[in-house]
């Protein structure tokens, strides 16, 4: 794997640690951190600051029976949450978003395919498959879009993005990502949909591409 050169912005890592990123972005950031040592370290730094704040927070007495209640439950059976491991190019959080299955590609035309992993009022997460040399269909998004490369690479006006790189594109960025030659480019794209009904173009395109 070539070195990762496009990282998650620090403020986004802080918001992720604090749990204040939209779910779609949290999937993208957790996936990037799974691939990127530098951002994992930066995230752990934010956890340290959070821990220091927790230590310094004014204590509030807990009910007298809380400790005994908890101690009594230590041996209670519980079902651990399933842990999704990395599978091929897909990091654990992507596997979790797919609930452990393989991608179910749907054709978008020109060889481009997508698999929508989740979509609701707060955002969408999808996988995109772009053949070499092919441009991503114009999806002038409003709001923010995070794109994490899982295979191959793409380039746009802001640079080249290879495996593990994450692009943060806001609505001001007029970008037409084009997959580079070589392997097909597979990426995870996350949007926050809060602003998606603002522009006319996205509204018209949504029924067609659901993007």
């Amino acid at each position: 794997m070539s070195a990762i050169t496009h990282h998650t912005p620090d403020a986004m890592l802080a918001a992720y640690a604090a749990g204040n990123l939209p779910h779609a972005f949290a999937v993208a950031v957790a996936s990037h951190v799974s691939l990127c040592t530098q951002c994992r370290v930066a995230l752990e730094a934010h956890q340290s600051v959070g821990g220091a704040i927790l230590e310094e927070t004014g204590a509030v007495a807990v009910s007298s029976n809380l400790k005994d209640d908890i101690l009594a439950q230590l041996d209670a059976p519980f079902t651990p949450e399933p842990v999704y491991d990395r599978k091929g190019i897909y990091p654990g959080p992507v596997m979790e978003a797919m609930k452990g299955r393989a991608p179910r590609w749907k054709k978008l035309g020109l060889g481009v395919r997508q698999d929508i992993l989740s979509e609701d009022a707060n955002g969408s997460v999808r996988l995109l498959y772009i053949p070499p040399g092919q441009a991503v269909p114009d999806h002038s998004h409003s709001g923010l879009e995070l794109t994490l490369v899982l295979q191959g690479s793409f380039s746009d006006a802001t640079g080249r993005f290879g495996v593990g790189d994450i692009e943060i594109a806001d609505e001001d960025l007029e970008h037409t990502p084009v997959a580079d030659e070589g392997d097909a480019c597979i990426c995870l794209a996350a949007t926050d949909a809060r602003l998606r009904f603002r522009g006319l173009m996205p509204r018209l395109l949504q029924p067609v591409f659901r993007i």
């Binding site: 604090a18 749990g19 959070g50 220091a52 704040i53």
Partner: protein, 172 residues
């Protein structure tokens, strides 16, 4: 915490409860929960600590940092009734010897971090606290916490550089 992890030591867990449960309750109330809700979340967090103790790695996190993340995750999972996406866990090499200097280094830096926090002006401190209580969006964090956050994080840079090397070794 190590005794809880390695020996499933209930007395050590009770001591961990005595230290963290009241702080967690205060912390969770500060982030907007009622007192009864906060106690429910404290209970959930403490049980999660017990059940996930095997994941705790003193080379990479202070106990407070680890518990902070569990507390934020559980509070949000409970509120949204969904599981937050979390990064893949890095697992320690089985049988790896603890590296006392790394653990000590992290502890010292946690101390420096607390001192740096204590030196902030009250309004700066307030903003940093809001950020880590999940009250600021990433845009707000980026525009409002810049300088104080940089100051605080500069106190842990040395440890982070060390950590980066360790993690690289672990991944290869």
């Amino acid at each position: 915490m190590i005794a809880v992890r390695d020996n499933r030591d209930r007395t050590a867990f009770a001591a961990l409860f005595d230290h963290f449960a009241p702080r967690l309750k205060g912390f969770i109330i500060r982030s907007g929960a009622s007192a009864p809700q906060a106690e429910e979340i404290v209970q959930d967090v403490m049980l999660t600590i017990w059940r996930k103790a095997a994941m705790f790695d003193p080379h990479r996190a202070q106990v407070s940092a680890w518990i902070y993340q569990i507390a934020r995750n559980r509070q949000i999972d409970i509120a949204r009734k969904e599981n937050r996406p979390v990064p893949e866990e890095l697992r320690e090499e089985p049988g790896a010897e603890p590296d006392a200097s790394q653990i000590l280094g992290l502890e010292q830096e946690a101390g420096q971090l607390r001192q740096a926090l204590a030196k902030l002006k009250p309004e700066q401190r307030e903003i940093i606290e809001q950020a880590y209580l999940g009250e600021l969006t990433h845009q707000e964090i980026s525009t409002r916490t810049g300088l104080p956050l940089g100051t605080i994080k500069s106190r842990i840079r040395l440890g982070l550089d060390r950590l980066r090397h360790e993690l690289k070794d672990l991944k290869q």
